[in-house]
Symmetry: C2
Subunit: 414 residues, 2 copies
């Protein structure tokens, strides 16, 4: 992609006061545009990052047996009434269809849809376990949407739901999801800063778990054991004062962003919807259930909060919108040639072909945060090739074409 | 995928009266589930088909320079007020946020979002032309949602918007989109039945164009010239009585489903939003605009309406959820072996491994509509291999493993 053709542009300043670092950097770099409080458009660069984040999650969900579905955003009053959440969920967007006069809610979560749906296909123990997930847009009428794309009124969500015959089977799958999530956060470049934490399980289980990524802008306070990479949420630190893994009691207080949560719902939703299966003896039992969420848009914001530096964004390899940011300082056929060569070698390249100064081009490259920068100057060509620099390192290498391609390949090899 | 593990099941009858053939077949086969009038869940099989349809559209949009973005569903009152459509669009879902007290609409179309967005990045003639598209969920408070997924209150839409300096440039791109759409409908298996038709251009242009797929369940009446594959919509047949291409006047009246529409919006939206660019002489001009829609969910319904037969769905190769429907009639290690072999050869397979009768398995295979059926029986094995049958042909071939793989490869070669 030639930068001169890109739909968005980088901007020096953003008109409204930035809500947070991710808001400022993502808007300035042209990844997102704010339409109203808590509501954003994903521009071409931002859509690419979001898609890569969602593809990683999708891949890992399929790996643990998840089957992808797509549930609607419009959901009927009756379903929310059945679980009592029509009246208790503060942030549910509720309205009445003008024509049908039916009351509907915009799905902010989908237990009220997926449970009666699963019930249709689960009759016997032979139909269990089942795992379905979706990656889709969710809506919550947040009191105070804030922190850019970390907490929006409209946001992207992956929600996985699992259905089981018994608690043992639920527990087994629950642990499998924890492992999948750990893999996912590692691929997002957030592995080092993300803690599995104990959170309140509400009224129907002792604990739930969250994944919390350490960041000063996080809304949550957690207590972590750095050795075990485990934590405890503030809300339950009073009853549970030690790390469940090593027994350490001098846990460290820190701020974190909740990037995922997983929940043993058991029969909380299957009971009101009467989701029943027949066991081997023909006896009726209530299906047990788990739910597991990750928000791709929040992840995107978290990556920016946690990994960016004073110059701009630093994308991890697997989620960067492009693999190479190519810069030429004068109009040159050589730039066109190497652009085509690198594309032919299978790389995704953003080529800054604009008629701008070196200063602006380097500044924008740092702001955009693509992992590898390749620069062509008269000097580099005289020295036999191209400058290669990794976004968050200072070292610049001069490489000839063959070695450049090899280096880039090695960098992106998993 | 083993059918025994699939989240959905086929059902003989559906409880509610089916609205149409696509509704009945898609629900019975387990592709979709109706949540309420005009609102559907895409089950694993349906999600796969929808994704393939969307991927084809995406590919062809990128081919003509489209850059993908993702605009929100929540859209502010102010933008709709500016174009006057807050009051004139009957089917706009409008409501007020409980917390912010802001009036919002659910996007049923996105000119009110994309135009002020494009304005931010278009300053000079150098920034034009620009093409952006999205594939996303849209909402319309339809008076009478009907015909299954052909006309829903919530549906999938691809909307492309183009921005130009002048009409000549707009016309050139408009023709390019027509060609891309023709390619798309061919890939959907709808090429033969789809007509480019002249429709009313409303108040701001003489004509717009639609793509209409001939079907008795279509809501539109069109007059077609079968030789030129062109048509005229009923609403304008009074002023335009002949085929614009060949001048033929004895056009044939028929029913059709509107599967796409394209529109030269010119300055209809760029004017109220004051989207201005500076031309080469530094003079201010209004940006001109085109918009181009295709609804992937409606396409899915149309394919079922147009290509299915009395036994069930007949998916075209490029959109089928799986490439091979594998059936074994007795428990057999041979089925497992060939399942793995075919998967290793790169094919997507749905294996009916259930303990069901031959009758039920064949019936379900016809209902599900996967293009190729491979059957293993004791008889076929004795004759040296496997039965291969194309969904909508009667011929059955017995092939050994090598020839089976070759035949399947040839079938799916583009």
């Amino acid at each position: 992609m030639k930068l001169s053709k890109l739909f968005s542009k980088t901007t020096k300043n953003i008109s409204k006061k930035a809500e947070s670092k991710n808001h400022e950097l993502l808007v300035r770099a042209g990844y997102v545009d704010q339409l109203m409080a808590g509501v954003y458009t994903y521009l071409p660069l931002g859509k690419k990052v979001l898609e890569k984040i969602e593809d990683i999650i999708r891949e890992e969900m399929i790996e643990i047996g998840g089957q992808e579905i797509l549930m609607p955003a419009l959901t009927p009053y009756e379903n929310w009434q059945k679980t009592g959440r029509w009246d208790t969920m503060d942030d549910l967007y509720r309205f009445t269809s003008y024509y049908s006069k039916n009351k509907v809610a915009l799905g902010g979560t989908h237990e009220e849809v997926v449970t009666p749906l699963a019930k249709k296909y689960i009759l016997s123990y032979k139909d269990l376990p089942k795992y379905v997930f979706q990656i889709q847009t969710k809506f919550r009428d947040e009191k105070r949407p804030k922190s850019g794309i970390l907490r929006g009124r409209e946001f992207r969500m992956k929600d996985l739901y699992s259905f089981h015959t018994d608690e043992q089977d639920l527990n087994k799958y629950y642990d499998k999801v924890i492992k999948a999530y750990e893999k996912i956060f590692k691929r997002f470049g957030l592995g080092d800063k993300t803690y599995l934490t104990f959170a309140s399980g509400g009224t129907f289980s002792k604990f739930s778990h969250e994944f919390q990524t350490e960041s000063p802008v996080g809304e949550d306070t957690i207590f972590v054991c750095r050795r075990c990479k485990m934590g405890i949420n503030k809300e339950i630190i009073l009853t549970q004062k030690e790390c469940p893994k090593c027994g350490k009691t001098d846990l460290e207080e820190t701020r974190a962003i909740e990037v995922a949560n997983i929940f043993k719902l058991k029969d909380k939703f299957t009971k009101p919807f009467k989701a029943i299966y027949l066991d081997k003896k023909g006896k009726e039992n209530t299906v047990l259930m788990g739910c597991y969420g990750i928000g791709p848009s929040r992840i995107m914001g978290t990556i920016v909060e946690v990994l960016s530096d004073e110059k701009g964004i630093v994308w991890p390899k697997e989620v960067a919108p492009y693999q190479i940011h190519l810069i030429n300082l004068k109009e040159s056929e050589e730039a066109e040639r190497i652009y085509n060569k690198l594309q032919a070698a299978g790389f995704d390249i953003l080529w800054d072909d604009r008629d701008e100064s070196a200063g602006i081009k380097f500044q924008d490259a740092d702001l955009l945060g693509i992992p590898l920068r390749v620069v062509i100057t008269e000097k580099s060509l005289k020295s036999g090739g191209y400058e290669l620099k990794v976004r968050n390192r200072t070292k610049i290498e001069i490489l000839n074409e063959k070695n450049l391609i090899k280096k880039v390949k090695d960098y992106y090899a998993k």
